[in-house]
């Protein structure tokens, strides 16, 4: 603590129409320090970081760098001041190569003709130093999410920042990629860089940070040296109260709800995305499906949810009183009691430009309450949607509000409310807690467990083993299209499942 601060924020306040996003926020960061910033969705973390990145200009307060007040009016000012930012949503161009992305907007490599050789020499050296892979001619869309993030980080670091801000860097990473990121942060710190790490995950903070500040309702409400804190204390600071632990009652596995045999799906290039998967989902049981992004688990989910048809194998749904052989359309499946919380809520599950009420209708067109004989009854959508807003405490302007005005957490609550509305018998939930804050995660997992306890079969796609262990009864893993398991949770360990995911066992 004796180190002189590299960066200080003093009493920074930012108001947007109708809301105060940052209220008298102060923080300090020393060289070679890793500072964690924790807080729920909407607590004001992003605004604070956008102020540091020169994207938002504060209404009041001071930004002090090396003891000198500075003004960050544009992103260029921030770069010049030595502040680098890696956004949660990557700002890379998919169809360009790594070196083209790195050269973009950076005039050091030439204004008209780009010196790619110089660029890859310089940045390649940096990558080696930090223990990263670097292939300058690879196209971005051929890289894994973790590799793309490394390129983002390299892009920020290539400008030699003294301060690096990482906005939720772990939310998209698989467990073993997370380890790589932390190792890189450790090396940056040895080089004297100050790092600000924003995260929802308490584990990230505990593992990498020296100090933490916690934001709630636009203010800094606490913080201190991480050494003296544990997970429960952090959660208490973030939420303002302690969350009761999820109690994991043992499941009463009932009859099979879905039987899958030898399911095969080929990618356009002829290689299998899903290579002969067989398993059974039973009523009253949560099955976690784990895997590193891109190993076929998303495709498996889409097959089960009816969004695409398989090239081989069988899916038998034992729903209602009957036995239904798939593939079936998502609409027919919903009518039988299948709920699907999709992986990417804004791409699949919701329409941002529609009202909440219309989004409610989106998956209910099969239902005679909402659409008898092909006629819409929007008022029913409004009524049900209004009930859900109250029951799930969704922060929205009402059923007529546009969906995109909701925060991510509230959008996810909305999807959950809609999908769980008609007591489904089979619930397919993909990355149901991704990008949510700790309180909303708790809520989502509780709802899924509640559905399980009343007899639904739940399939939970997750890249997060901690989450799987918190709610699942059995676990299965996809690795390069091959399915391993399911095995009861008691019969395996996180360590072993982690190895299955990376294909090292």
């Amino acid at each position: 603590m004796a180190r002189a601060p590299l960066l200080e924020l003093r009493g920074v306040t930012k108001r947007f129409p109708g809301v105060v996003a940052n209220d008298n926020v102060s923080l300090s960061l020393a060289a070679s320090e890793v500072l964690g910033v924790l807080g729920e969705n909407g607590a004001g973390k992003s605004t604070l970081m956008n102020i540091l990145a020169g994207l938002v200009i504060p209404d009041a307060g001071e930004i002090v760098l090396d003891g000198m007040p500075i003004r960050l009016a544009t992103p260029r000012d921030a770069v010049a001041a030595g502040i680098g930012m890696v956004h949660q949503h990557f700002k890379l161009i998919d169809t360009l190569t790594v070196q083209e992305n790195l050269a973009l907007g950076d005039r050091r490599w030439g204004r008209r003709v780009v010196d790619y050789r110089g660029l890859s020499r310089t940045i390649g050296g940096l990558a080696r130093e930090l223990g990263m892979q670097f292939d300058p001619t690879a196209r971005i869309d051929r890289l894994s999410v973790g590799q793309q993030q490394q390129i983002e980080i390299l892009k920020a670091l290539s400008r030699n920042p003294r301060i690096l801000i990482l906005d939720e860097p772990t939310s998209v990473l698989a467990p073993e990629e997370r380890g790589g990121l932390f190792a890189m942060i450790a090396r940056l710190r040895e080089r004297g860089t100050g790092v600000i790490l924003i995260s929802h995950r308490m584990e990230d903070i505990l593992e990498t940070c020296e100090r933490v500040i916690v934001m709630r309702q636009s203010r800094v409400v606490g913080g201190g040296a991480v050494a003296g804190l544990d997970r429960a204390a952090l959660v208490r600071m973030v939420v303002g109260e302690s969350l009761p632990r999820l109690e994991h009652r043992s499941a009463h596995a009932g009859r099979p709800v879905l039987t899958v045999e030898d399911l095969v799906l080929l990618r356009p290039n002829g290689l299998p995305a899903v290579a002969g998967a067989s398993f059974e989902l039973r009523a009253g049981e949560v099955t976690a499906l784990c895997g590193v992004e891109g190993n076929g688990q998303s495709e498996l989910i889409e097959l089960i949810a009816g969004m695409r048809g398989p090239q081989g194998g069988r899916m038998v749904y034992h729903l209602g009183s009957g036995r239904h052989v798939g593939p079936m359309s998502p609409e027919a499946l919903r009518a039988l009691g299948v709920a699907h919380v999709p992986e990417d809520r804004l791409r699949y599950g919701l329409i941002g430009a529609f009202s909440l009420a219309d989004n409610w209708l989106l998956t209910n067109l099969w239902n005679a309450i909402f659409a008898p004989g092909g006629w819409l009854r929007p008022e029913q959508g409004r009524i049900r949607c209004g009930q859900a807003i109250r029951a799930y405490d969704i922060r929205a302007g009402g059923p007529a509000a546009r969906l995109r005005t909701l925060s991510g957490g509230n959008q996810q609550k909305f999807v959950l409310a809609r999908e769980l509305a008609d007591t489904p018998q089979l619930i397919i939930a993909a990355h149901a807690t991704r990008g949510l804050d700790v309180r909303t995660i708790d809520f989502v997992l509780r709802e899924l467990l509640r559905a399980r306890d009343r007899g639904a079969a739940v399939l939970l796609l997750s890249a997060d083993l901690d989450e799987a262990w918190e709610v699942a009864d059995q676990v299965m893993v996809m690795s390069r299209g091959h399915l391993r398991g399911p095995v009861p949770l008691a019969a395996t360990t996180r360590h072993e499942v982690g190895h299955w995911m990376t294909g090292t066992a």
Binding site: P17, D344, Y348, L361, T363, W366, G374, W375
Partner: protein
């Protein structure tokens, strides 16, 4: 409600631009803008003859515009209004000789044949898009040329008037002609068809699951797949309707105005209908209003050419400006929404 305000503002801005920019050109050409606009308005809105011409022009524009709006809602850009109009007219006229035996049913069948003729062509485009991912913009534009050549051949060949003097088809029997509804003018009963179509499609779009599915597909193909919407079926359905209304416009034009096929009977309504649909913000019920507005410009420009020797292409400048102003306003509104969200 916010949306309603924005829509009205976009409309007003587009109209103002449509007046302001051509005024500049009028000044350049040495004409007095105020007097010119005054002449335009007094003819189109001040005389019954002029206003009936406006309505006559607005009838096919409304029908095609409704079709354009339906397809746009599903995210499909149907630029083939002209070709579909021709195909509808051709099928209806080809069937005309055998419709004499149907008494009063003949005319409705004639109009339905027009709808079918356009709908088949539109549906074909929809199928090509759904099955092969064909770009409907390119396909519909190419279809316009195919239809035009088809018409050129038919009225010099199989469908030519028995005397074979002019390149035109035989005339429709009197029972197949739309009755005149505007006393002393040429205003025909097609106006009823256009009004009915606008009301009907407004209901389809806002109150049926089909209309809802169209909107879902137009907003997000991912959400459409997730929700279990049969994308191919909705795509083909939207294009059948879209082409169908253009084809109906063709049959209405024949039965109400021309009474026979001839060269150039399809006076480039297709592109105008796109502007009409855009300005109506894809609401079928608003399409008749924007069609009348464009009718005023179109008929008024014709009158100006005759009375004040202002060149007719003024109307194309007006149309271009309206589309640009409208799109500019929408883009500005979208950016504003993105900034404040």
């Amino acid at each position: 409600m916010d949306d309603g305000h924005r829509m009205i503002r976009a409309f007003v801005v587009a109209v103002l631009a449509a007046v302001a920019v051509p005024s500049g050109f009028l000044l350049l050409a040495g004409k007095a803008p105020l007097a010119t606009w005054g002449a335009l308005l007094s003819y189109t809105l001040g005389t019954w003859v002029g206003f009936s011409d406006v309505l006559i022009h607005a009838i096919p524009l409304t029908l095609i515009g409704i079709g354009v709006a339906v397809a746009f809602r599903a995210g499909i850009f149907n630029l083939g209004g002209d070709g579909q109009l021709i195909c509808g007219a051709v099928l209806a006229v080809a069937l005309a000789p055998i419709l004499g035996g149907f008494e009063w049913l003949g005319l409705p069948i004639f109009l339905v044949a027009g709808f079918v003729g356009g709908g088949v062509i539109g549906g074909l485009v929809g199928w090509l898009r759904a099955r092969f991912g064909a770009n409907e913009i390119i396909v519909t534009i190419m279809m316009n040329y195919v239809a035009l050549q088809l018409l050129t051949w038919l009225i010099r060949g199989p469908l030519q008037d028995p005397l074979r003097i002019f390149p035109r088809s035989y005339a429709l029997a009197i029972e197949l002609q739309l009755p005149i509804v505007g006393g002393g003018t040429r205003l025909h009963a097609g106006i009823i068809a256009a009004a009915l179509a606008a009301g009907l499609m407004q209901i389809v779009i806002s109150r049926t699951t089909f209309g809802f599915r169209l909107a879902v597909l137009g907003e997000s193909s991912g959400a459409a797949v997730y929700a279990g919407i049969n994308v191919a079926r909705v795509t083909v359905g939207a294009m059948v309707l879209s082409g169908g209304f253009a084809g109906l416009a063709g049959a209405v034009e024949i039965a109400g105005v021309h009474q026979r096929l001839q060269d150039n009977f399809a006076g480039g309504f297709g592109l105008e209908a796109i502007a009409v649909a855009l300005m109506a913000r894809l609401h079928p019920i608003a399409v008749p209003l924007t069609s009348v507005l464009f009718g005023v410009f179109y008929v008024g420009s014709g009158a100006l050419q005759r009375q004040m020797s202002v060149p007719f292409p003024l109307v194309w400048i007006i149309e271009g400006v309206v589309i640009l102003a409208y799109l500019g306003f929408v883009a500005a509104a979208a950016r504003k929404a993105a900034r404040t969200a």
